[in-house]
Symmetry: C2
Subunit: 199 residues, 2 copies
DNA sequence: CGTAAATGTTAGGGTCGGCTAAATTGATCC
DNA sequence: GGATCAATTTAGCCGACCCTAACATTTACG
């Protein structure tokens, strides 16, 4: 991870990131050398997965119990994730029956920091005629999520690629029970799939 | 409200309270004169009732949905109440069916800042032979709450005062379906009641 | 009353994250 | 191999809140 990337993702200046990285480095959460980028240590990885768990459990809670739309819950969970007592997150997780994934399909780490692997194949990586099952979607753009839901491109959906345009990379997918949709490469990259059809 | 009282309740030095009162005064939330104490303005009252609403809704959620004991939820709600997005509190409130009170019996303000009146009569204010109905209990001491629950002194319970000791003020109450309990005046003051029996 | 004690405020400082601007480093391209 | 440029770090600052210590006011009581 480079300083500038972190700064951009956090909406903060690179100067602030430098300071914080030095801080985290002193606490042993990050390996960091000046001008050399940063990497989480084992401890840092554990701490980060703890936050990821809280975030994804909360997303599930917000959709399943409080009926929020999946396009809103990333931002809401983000506001809540640092203030909730651990016991409350645990209780919510139990209430939900220890869900395996967040509403966008990303796996929820367990309390020991174990996480299921995530598929790396995207719709953009499929060829014409391929069949696949939607596993996860990128969750940072509410408008994209709204669109994907309308077209049935949600985790668990089964699809077939009917065309791949060799010039610009546009793909057309037919989603079972939801019709056909054309996707530009950038959009096709936001949906990760597996080749096997869901159990 | 005096500076020192606020400081004590917040676990902060009086110096910090002076600074903050000056700040809140500038924002129009509080009427404050040096050495003269502070009082909420109408705006301040509104803001405060908003926080009270969040707090009490969360307490209800923690007991009713997440199954926490009523002796734990004040502290937990306190940690959560400032970080939860308003829409989430609203959704929780709807989920619970717009409850009228927190688990300790205190009324939940509505979104416009209207609150039901709270009874001022306590068990300590009853005479031998009086009948009453428990309405609310003080919620700051988990050990006290544990005790009250064991003895059936929870909102809605019906009781009769069987003795009042004229020397030290000890009262003995008989709780319907839960036996007799002796209470020192300080404890008796923690339970507020109404003379009418609950509907 | 008048003074001592209690209460409250001010002064001065610290930490935590953030910022801007200036300096530094490393990468790139003649 | 050096000049240039982008990325990064450092320096210095700020605002929110908290603190302690010193000072001011109010209160309570002999
Ligand atoms: Mn998310
Ligand atoms: Mn998610
Ligand atoms: Mn409470
Ligand atoms: Mn309560």
């Amino acid at each position: 991870m480079r300083t500038g990337d972190i700064a951009q993702r956090l909406g903060v200046t690179p100067a602030s990131v430098s300071g914080m990285l030095k801080h985290l480095s002193r606490e042993g959460l990050v390996n960091y050398r000046e001008y050399g980028g940063a990497l989480l240590t084992a401890d840092g990885e554990r701490a980060a997965l703890g936050v990821v768990r809280r975030h994804r459990v909360l997303e599930r809670f917000l959709t399943d119990v409080l009926q929020f739309g999946w396009e809103q819950v990333d931002a809401l969970a983000h506001q809540m994730e640092h203030a909730l007592p651990e016991v409350v997150v645990d209780a919510i997780e139990r209430l939900l029956g220890d869900p395996a994934t967040c509403p966008h399909g990303h796996p929820i780490p367990d309390k020991e920091g174990r996480v299921a692997a995530e598929p790396r194949l995207t719709i953009g990586g499929l060829a014409a005629g391929d069949r696949a099952c939607v596993r996860e979607v990128d969750e940072f753009d509410p408008a994209l999520l709204d669109f994907l839901q309308q077209r049935g491109l949600v985790p668990g959906a089964v699809l077939r690629v009917s065309q791949v345009n060799p010039i610009d990379g546009t793909v057309v997918v037919e989603v079972v029970d939801a019709g056909a949709t054309a996707l530009a490469p950038a959009t096709a990259k936001a949906v990760r799939v597996s080749r096997e059809v869901a159990e």
